[in-house]
Every structure is written in C-alpha cells, then in structure tokens.
Symmetry: C2
Subunit: 428 residues, 2 copies
C-alpha cells in the first residue's frame, strides 16, 4: 500500500534548502503517517558549496533542467528559484512533461497562474502553491478545502513580515521609518533594496493570489490599488493610538455588489481587532464568510522551515490525492472579462491637517468636507508642535468614496489656510 513518490528541487536558496532538509529528515515520518515514501531524486543548483553544506549526495545532483524533466523517477518538481524568468521556464518544462509542480513563487503565480494552470491541466498534472502566501500558514488549503462552503465576503491580511516588523517597531518604540527599516535590514528581515516589501509589491502579489481563490475569479495584481509604508510618519501612529487605532499594512479584498475591491495600503484598525495584535514578523489573514462569520489564521509568514512546511505539505497532498486542484479554475472558467473591479472604493478616513490658528478655519474645512458629502465622526485639535505656526487638526470620517476624499483634500490644499499632512484609511 506504500506509495513511492520521487521529487526534484530546483534552487537551493533559503526555502529550497529548508525543503531539502525537511524532506530528508522526515522521510520515515511521512512513510509512517502518510503512507508515502517521498524520495528526493534530484536537486538542481549551481552553487556547489551550498550543495555540500546541505549534504546532497553526488548522485542526486542534476546537471540540467532537461535531465530533471526527462527523469521518469521524478513525479513532482519543487520550484524554489523565485522570480519569473528561469523559474517560469523550468516550471513550464516540468508541467509539459506531466510532472506536478509545487512552488513558493508568489510573483510567478500572481503574474502567470492562468497560463501555468492551463498547461498543468492539459498535461493532467497539478500546480500547488501554498508556500507562495503567508509561509507555513495553510491559508490556501483553508480557502480550497476548509471554508469552501462559504461565499467569502472579505479578507484582510498582514501578509508581509518586513513591513509588519517595521510598523511594529515604529508603534512600540516610536522610532521613525528610516531607523526601523535599518534595524530590519540589520536583522535580515529587510533586503538591501527593500522596495519590493516596503512599497507593497509583495503584498500585492499575495493578495491577487488569495483573492482569486476567495472570490473564484482571476484577480490580476495590476487591479490591486497599492500603497506602501515608506511615507508613514510615526506621528500619525502615535495620534492613531489616542483614537484607539493600530496601524498595519493590510492587504484587503472585498467582494462587493459593485465589484471586487482589492487594495494594499497602510490602514488603521481598532486596537481590539484580532489583526491589531499581530506583531513583528508574524503574518495573519482574517476573513469573513457568509456562513462562517469571521476567522483568522496566524503564523510565521516567512523563513526557511515555516515555508518548507507549506512546500512539503503540498508535496504530500499532491502525492496522496489523485484529484488535481486547479485552484481558481475548478469550474473551467476562462472568461474573466465580465468581472468588475471597484476603482472608487469606500473607506473611513483619518486625516491630519495643519491649519492656521485663527477663527473660522474649522468652519471652512467642515464646509469643504460637507460639499463632497463626507461626514465627520470626530475632530480633535492638538497642541501646536514647537516651532510651528500651524495647529495639527485630526479628522476621522464616516465611510466615504476615495474620489470624494481626494477632491476634498485637493480643495483644502489649494486653500491658503490649511494643508493635509496625512490621509490614512480606517477599517473596522
């Protein structure tokens, strides 16, 4: 009854190395608990020092991708190279040879899942990518096989550890963005060029993958409204706290009557929200379903072994289930042209202005908001900062449209009595 499954690993970086070690160290365990003997047949990486460090036996080192895909002993190919170039080329070669693919590559899946899933389907093999989102947390398995009885109404995720670490430092220690970023870089949480993380690209890829599954349609990452954290001021985090809010970089997906609303931006959430206490490099996805109500999955969003856990869980799933999971395309849908996306989304807002310290200013600002149909929940005037002439004024609004808010902000900035210093969206 034991099933033998041969795997190849392409790329022995952090995740590939963790995957190799996990598979080798747990072979007996999987044989015992899963009835499947998972054998690493082949490893492809040019870095001989790394191959040695991981103890890969000589006979398992592949000379080329051609050798890997031609090997009949290999059933599943694990791609841990990253990016869209070579990785995509190799994955396509594997799928075309009828080998199922397990990948941790969020950029490739976000950009090319349509194309890759079609090739997989044509060749009767599977494409699995649990590890592309939120490390070891089984969010994709949950969407596919755990909450599939629900219309998913909305999801909000902290899906990038680097930015969550930086925002946590800014919140807890009052350090500014640049200092917190440097700390994150020193600890290896942020890369030398942090753009991909701090400007929200990484979160955008993940949101496009997760919302495609949650909403049963393809959500291209280009449809995601994206703002990063590089212009977040610690001053706003501190003031937000006084209002009972915590600032997080959220990946938000909502299935609304007017279309799919997907966005990544710094967001204030109430301190009591389960996402508010997800700190440091931890990630979490909070979602609401129509039957389920709300759930949250929480865990390490990155790292060699947490991500390897997701890769290997997919390998076991692929090895023990004959049904192939075409994730977003179970129903063979190909035409997504009729899917609507929200462009002018709705949100509540936190706005910090600096205003002239004189009578009548508040009335004028209020009238601008009123003109654009924006209703105000709370106004607080703060004491003047040392050396500044203008007074900080904080406004929290009810839900309104993004465009109305943009117009109101432009109008205020065009006046000579006040300037908008910060606009941060608020989710409940």
């Amino acid at each position: 009854m034991k099933k033998r499954v041969g795997v190849a690993i392409l790329g022995l970086g952090v995740v590939g190395g963790g995957t190799y070690r996990t598979l080798v160290d747990h072979r007996e365990f999987y044989l015992k608990t899963q009835n499947v003997d998972i054998v690493v047949e082949s490893v492809l990486d040019k870095n001989t020092a790394r191959l040695k460090e991981l103890g890969v036996p000589e006979e398992c080192i592949a000379g080329s991708i051609a050798e890997v895909v031609a090997n009949p002993a290999i059933d599943i190919v694990i791609e841990t190279i990253g990016g869209v170039g070579v990785a995509k080329e190799f994955v396509m070669m594997a799928l075309k040879e009828g080998k199922s693919v397990v990948t941790a590559n969020k950029e490739m899946i976000s950009k090319c899942s349509h194309e890759l899933e079609r090739i997989a389907k044509r060749n009767s093999c599977g494409l699995y990518y649990e590890a592309s989102c939120v490390g070891g947390v089984p969010i994709i398995r949950t969407l596919l096989d755990g909450v599939q009885a629900n219309h998913v109404l909305e999801m909000m995720g902290i899906v990038n550890g680097t930015t969550n670490y930086i925002l946590t430092k800014m919140t807890q220690d009052g350090t500014d963005y640049q200092t917190a970023l440097k700390e994150a870089q020193a600890l290896g949480y942020a890369e030398f060029d942090p753009t991909n993380d701090v400007e929200g690209f990484d979160s955008t890829y993940k949101l496009s993958i997760l919302s495609s599954m949650a909403f049963h349609t393809k959500v291209p990452y280009t449809k995601v409204h994206r703002e990063g954290i590089s212009s977040v001021k610690v001053e706003d985090i501190t003031i937000g706290k006084e209002f009972g809010y915590t600032l997080k970089l959220l990946a938000i997906g909502k299935n609304t009557p007017s279309g799919i609303d997907v966005r990544v931006h710094p967001t204030f959430i109430p301190d009591a929200h389960p996402l508010a206490s997800v700190n440091d490099a931890y990630n979490a996805v909070y979602l609401r379903g129509d039957a389920l109500d709300d759930i949250m999955l929480y865990g390490k969003g990155a790292g060699a072994f947490p991500t390897a856990s997701a890769v290997v869980s997919d390998v076991i799933y692929a090895a023990t289930h004959s049904e192939i999971k075409y994730s977003t395309f179970k129903n063979n849908a190909t035409a997504d042209s009729d899917v609507k996306f929200v462009t002018d989304f709705s949100s509540a807002y936190y706005i910090r202005l600096s205003v002239d310290d004189q009578a009548g200013v508040l009335a004028k600002i209020s009238s601008i908001f009123a003109k654009y149909g924006i209703s105000i929940v709370e106004i607080a005037q703060k004491s003047k900062n040392a050396g500044e002439e203008r007074v900080p004024l904080i406004i929290i609004t009810h839900k309104t449209h993004e465009n109305a808010m943009k117009n109101a902000v432009a109008k205020i900035n065009a006046s000579d009595m006040a300037a908008v210093e910060a606009v941060i969206r608020v989710e409940a």
Copy 2:
C-alpha cells in the same frame, strides 16, 4: 463534468437546521465553484414544526432511518443529532450501507472513532468530522492537509465558548463565577445544566480528537487530565493580571519524550500570548510544529452557521475527493497499546496561600518547596483582606512535576501556619 451528490440530514437542531439552509441556499454557488450539485434528498426529524419552519419540502421528509439508508440517491449522510445513542446507531447503519458520513458529534467521535472508522473502511466510505471541533475553523483540515509535513510538538486550544465567555466576563468585569455563569445562561451561551461545558468534558472530547490527529495515534478522552472552571476565584484572575497573566481554560496536548501529555484545566498564560486575547465565545487553537514553528487558528467555536460551514465544507470535500481520509488511521495502525501517556506532567505553577502573619512562616514554606525540589521564580505578599487574620502570599514556581506540587501542597495544608487557597498551572 458536473457531479451530482445526494445528501441526507439526520436531526434538524441548531446545527442541522443551519446545515439544511446553507446547502439549499448555496446550491447554485457550489455548482458553479465546486463543479458539484449537492442535493438534499432526505431529512429525518420528528419535529414537524421545525421541518415546516425550515421549509423542508414534503417529498424530502424521511419516515425512518431505514428509508434513508436504503435510498440509492443518497451518497452522504449528515449526522447532527448529537450524543452516542441514536446518533451512533444511525451512523453505523449509514456506513454499513456504504454511505459516507459527515458529523458534528464530538462526543461520538471522541468515544467511538476507532470503531466507526473501521466500519467506514470496511465499507469503502468516508467519515468526516471537521464540525466536531472549533465550529467553522478548519482545524482538522489543517492537521490533515495543511501542516502534515510537521511533527506537531504541542497544541493549546480554547475550544469551549461557554467557559471562555464566563472567564472573559470574570476577567473584564470582575464578576464572580456564579454571576458570570448566569449571564452566559441568559444569553444562551450556557445550558441549564452547564456541567458538560464548565467541568471541561466538552473540551476533553475535542482535545482527544485533535490530539489523536496531531500525534497520529488514538488519544482516548479517558487519558485526558480534566479540571473545569467552577472553582475559579475572581481574586486569582485579578492577582494573575498583576503578574502579567490571563486565565483561560486550555486544552493542552504535548508530544513529549516521556509520552503524550493531554490535559484540560484553567491555565495562566502571558498576556502577550496570542491565545490571551481570544475573548468571549471565540475559540482558537495554537500549535507548534517542528518545521512550521507556531501558528494559531481563531474563530467562532459554535453556532448554527459557523458549524454548518464546517459540515458543508466536509460534504464538498467528500464529494470532490475520491480518497477517503481515515483521519487518525492512514497508516492502518490498530495497536495503540505501546503509546505512552504522561501521568505526572510538568508545569509551572501559581499558588495562592493564606499564611500566619508572623516571622519564620516564609522560611518554613520555602523549605517545604525546596524539599520537593520545587524552585520558586517569584514571591509576593499581598495586603491582608478586610476581616481576615491571615495574609495572602503568592508564589510562582519554575516548571516542576504535578506530583511534587501535590505533595508540597498537602504538606503545607497539614501545617498550622498556612493553607493553600489556589493552585493554577502556568504555560508560557
């Protein structure tokens, strides 16, 4: 390509009713997103008012279980009766006719899964019970298909909403146990006879199910050390707060070198622990895997629709996967006789004593702890309560063995200088 699946629902109580409505209301949705047409063929319940209230059509009302199991149009039987009597009898009849069973029945699964899984296997059908634990939260799917790459090292769960509601009230409002229980009863969170919840039986059933899966062996509920919350004093919750601890009724499972350690008892955890902010009727399971590190799943632990979400997700899983999941027995293991269980477990402790207000008492108590090898982390003497002669003394210990602690407590109680008023275990 569309697959037609007929289901029967046995018992239209809270969960059965929610399941019926979910299946009927989502039929088109499942057809579109899951490629499967799930048809409620038959419903068995004697309560005609309830059948009418839910709008069950005449032709779907079954006259007897015999009629249900004889119906070839029924592929899957959903059991939402509860308990071990009739429910088990009906489930066995369905399995023997080769019908897969989906159940929300934690008591039956905890007590009889061995027997039922054997019958299921003999008849090539499946037995699914996601809904037996933690409502709509897909903890069983996660253990089976999401984190199966890991040795699960430990799990800690808040798996009973009633007791979590009561403890949250005691913590936040300082109400005593009896008052909080009455509130919970008034809100429908606690039953008229609350024993099953407040004495930890419900948590014990769930822990036996979850730890069986997590540790790949049968963990009988009778092996679980069980203590409820009925003797918890609000005084200890308040003092615990001063030490940075939150009190929760935890279901704890650990896979230790000396055996499986399973217990349900009131437990102090640090305020910063993710489980500490799981309040009211919410549930959560926190677990650590050897690759994964730590994750937590959080959500509504009960209620008609959250539980129906789990039932229906199992139905869809059963309908779309030909592989049958014998949960704890994938490896055909039947002999569990070699599984060791820890009886004298280890824990850190919070101890509240009332001691004579005189010199030398502290030295004597310290020497008793020392005698039993119990090492003290922190001692705090509180001010005397009004009208009392003795002084409250709080001791927090390092990890020690339960039996050592019991002996020390007995020794102190046998003395005439002090009495132990409360002993609460502490987990980090």
